[in-house]
Symmetry: C2
Subunit: 185 residues, 2 copies
């Protein structure tokens, strides 16, 4: 069954209002009241759909994660000449993805945001990496794949964190080259 038109409208209004507010102030400083005023939606209606402003943001989050998974589908496009035996070219797409949604990732990596967003991102990268790890690295080695992929996924995210910290001054391309160099050390 399809969603009620009214539900669609309110959710749309709320998402738009949130996006506008996020250009001015940080996520955690946006109150339910001001959000509803801007969206012209009753506060009670907001609470009927979301428990807090963060839940609304998480809905947007999922569409971004969809793009991350998509870019994983066409991996060998940009990095074919950078590969060493240890580098997964799909992995390396993540920097282009982050560059594409820079505004979004400035929020995800901001200090005041709940850790759950980082985990959502971590989960996705980990599961993207997990397949390759078990395929290319661990032939017959008895080791917890979750641990290995957690290690590698978070290492990449460590670069992303440092990248964010340096205000994304490097290009995604440079980040790719950096990763390859680190892996070859």
């Amino acid at each position: 069954m399809k969603t009620d038109l009214r539900v669609f409208k309110t959710k749309d209004a709320l998402r738009n209002a949130l996006m506008h507010l996020l250009e001015q102030k940080s996520l955690n400083s946006i109150s339910v009241t001001e959000l509803c005023q801007l969206a012209k939606v009753n506060r009670g209606t907001f609470y009927a759909h979301y428990g807090q402003v963060e839940n609304l943001f998480e809905e947007y989050f999922k569409t971004i994660m969809k793009d991350l998974a998509d870019s994983y589908q066409e991996p060998y496009k940009y990095v074919k000449n950078l590969l060493s035996k240890d580098v997964n070219p799909a992995t390396i797409r993540i920097f282009h993805h982050i560059e594409k949604y820079e505004t979004f990732y400035r929020i995800v990596f901001s200090r005041t945001v709940p850790l759950s967003y980082y985990y959502l991102l971590f989960d996705h990268v980990q599961s993207l990496i997990r397949d390759d790890v078990s395929e290319h690295y661990l032939n017959g080695i008895d080791i917890d794949i979750s641990m290995v992929s957690a290690y590698q996924a978070n290492a990449i995210l460590g670069l992303a964190i440092e990248w964010h910290r340096q205000d994304f001054k490097q290009s995604a391309e440079e980040m790719n080259r950096l990763l390859v160099r680190i892996l070859s050390i």
Copy 2:
């Protein structure tokens, strides 16, 4: 100049109250009001010292980070027979540290907590690693040390995250062995 005795008393009462409350409920669900009631401190006094409950927690955080730095001082004690050329034995102390303060790290790694705590932890691990990285790995190699240490620090924290996720079922010793194995792949 030393701190006023009254200030010391109120901070002490607040910290104790917070620790008691954290045994029952999650950090973000603790209100300033209930905290002050338990601590028998005026709400206005709380706001004179901290802006929010989180700030109080962060003060406790610093004492834990102090222990992390301390355990870094006596590194070769527990892991001397686990070393490969790539493993920094000091690095590997982190799992024992986390095990020691498990209750605390269950909070730091919980979803609802602000990302800033993770960053505080990340900062410490990164700076601990930074020295060794520049010393042992990068002899004459021109590469951003912040990036390399961010990569390695967060990789370790990735294991910690996965460890937390698996409810710390492994011992710190097992985590050490795991790390060594991953590094040798």
